[in-house]
């Protein structure tokens, strides 16, 4: 069915020791600072399901938080195992691509 095609990642890897780099199939290459990504966790414990209110307290997240491993969920998202033990968040392609617009350091390579 003809749903509008949102970009999908081609490669998900490291930008440096902690931060995540995603290369999208539209040519964009985005660096996601680890802590920004952790704070954006969409899981039910971090965001109230009904209201969308953020329940995660920034000060409760270690400054040095970083992904330990990342794996694919179905064909539409990734799940991240964090250094603070958190791992319930599912980051969809949509959400990640949307986040890209809010990051200062994205660069476009075509």
């Amino acid at each position: 069915m003809a749903t509008p095609q949102i970009p999908t990642p081609v490669e998900i890897g490291r930008a440096n020791q902690h931060d995540v780099k995603i290369r999208w199939n539209d040519g964009r290459e985005i660096i996601y600072p680890a802590r920004r990504l952790r704070l954006a966790c969409p899981c039910a414990a971090c965001v109230e399901e009904m209201t969308g209110r953020r329940m995660l307290v920034e000060s409760a997240v270690p400054a040095e938080v970083h992904p330990l491993s990342i794996h694919a969920v179905g064909r539409y998202a990734i799940q991240i195992l964090w250094s603070d033990g958190h791992q319930t968040g599912i980051y969809t392609w949509e959400r990640l691509y949307e986040m890209a617009g809010q990051l200062p350091n994205s660069k476009i390579e075509r």
Binding site: M1, T8, E11, R14, I70, H71, A72, I78, I90
Partner: protein
């Protein structure tokens, strides 16, 4: 004496009509043996349920026979179902190559009947098939498959019950009759995990999953937990039902689960006395809806009292009355479904998967 090169060159003329590529490029040609004028090859298809198996065999034979110096041709047919690409990296259910959920927008459209008969029809072609009844609200697969035994625990998990060549696991095995189930999200997710990881499936080409009606937690859990090859959606011809089917289509789209096609059940009526076909409803509704949504149409199953009777008595119609119009419809749909899985997997192999290096 013909050379191997000549044989391969000739076979490049044979195109798989579903995959749109020649059988050499597709890697179907195995074991070319040439002895004087006699050529022997094996064609390894991506499914034993291939709808164009005979045609490919014939065309391959003809292609080889046209090579100068060939006087004897032997084409052996074999099949090796390839896994969904996404499934290869994931160790969620080792040994299971393709997971195919059967869904519908609403209840009572014949989802369980269709799941069971497709599973058995696939097994009849020689494929290794599993059937998972994920309908926690009204598991009906044990009845349809005539299973009364309880499954036993094995070394690494529960051992599925085998019926008509299909390995079956059902929520019904773990519920007492008439036990009302009120399931909540997390419990459902846990059950799905147990079904997927806690069962000794062994080697499975197609795991057919009978979903509960609608678009709820189970669907979400399943699509999030494992990479699915794609879903099939069952609908009745009525327009209302088709609109509901559309809901299922939208849900699978949102979960990025490919849709392998639409199936129309209770499509038309064949008079058991005179064999006359009668379109009680607006037959063809699902075919048109599939066209509109740009989805494959997998086939239509007639309304048949025998179908209900055989299901109620635990002898699926593809086993108990394999020549009946309904059984023939199931066999054809099973082959169309297997072809769609092959097409999907071939497309995926061609497309680059996301590479994760973290």
């Amino acid at each position: 004496m013909p050379t191997e090169d000549q044989v391969l060159q000739a076979l490049r003329q044979v195109i798989d009509p579903d995959l749109h590529r020649d059988i050499v490029t597709l890697g179907f040609v195995k074991d070319v043996a040439i002895c004087e004028g006699a050529v022997k090859i094996t064609l390894e298809l991506t499914t034993p349920a291939c709808p164009v198996k005979d045609r490919l065999k014939e065309e391959a034979e003809q292609a080889i026979r046209s090579i100068p110096g060939v006087d004897q041709v032997n084409v052996k047919m074999d099949a090796q179902v390839r896994p969904t690409l996404a499934q290869m990296g994931s160790m969620m259910i080792p040994g299971v190559r393709n997971v195919v959920p059967i869904g519908s927008g609403k209840g009572g459209v014949g989802k369980s009947t269709v799941s069971a008969n497709i599973a058995v029809a696939l097994a009849q072609t020689g494929a290794r098939v599993g059937l998972m009844d994920a309908d926690v609200y009204g598991p009906s697969i044990p009845t349809i498959m005539g299973i009364t035994d309880a499954p036993k625990p094995g070394e690494k998990g529960i051992i599925p019950i085998e019926a008509y060549g299909v390995k079956v696991i059902s929520m019904g095995f773990f519920l007492k009759p008439d036990q009302a189930v009120v399931w909540r999200g997390p419990m459902l997710t846990k059950m799905i995990d147990q079904f997927l990881g806690g069962v000794e499936w062994g080697e499975i080409d197609y795991l057919i999953v009978d979903l509960p009606p609608g678009t709820g937690d189970i669907h979400l859990s399943l699509c999030q937990r494992i990479p699915l090859s794609g879903a099939a959606i069952v609908s009745t011809p009525q327009d209302v039902a088709l609109q509901v089917a559309q809901k299922a289509v939208i849900m699978f789209n949102q979960l990025k689960t490919p849709i392998l096609g639409l199936i129309e059940n209770m499509s038309y009526f064949v008079c058991p006395h005179c064999g006359q076909r009668e379109n009680i409803f607006d037959t063809g509704g699902a075919r048109r809806a599939a066209g509109r949504m740009n989805l494959p149409f997998l086939g239509e199953i007639p309304l048949a009292t025998r179908l209900r009777e055989t299901s109620d008595s635990g002898r699926p119609i593809v086993v108990s009355d394999p020549k009946s119009p309904a059984a023939v419809a199931f066999q054809q749909i099973a082959r169309a479904l297997a072809a769609q899985v092959s097409i999907r997997n071939a497309e995926e192999t061609a497309a680059e998967p996301v590479k994760i290096t973290f």
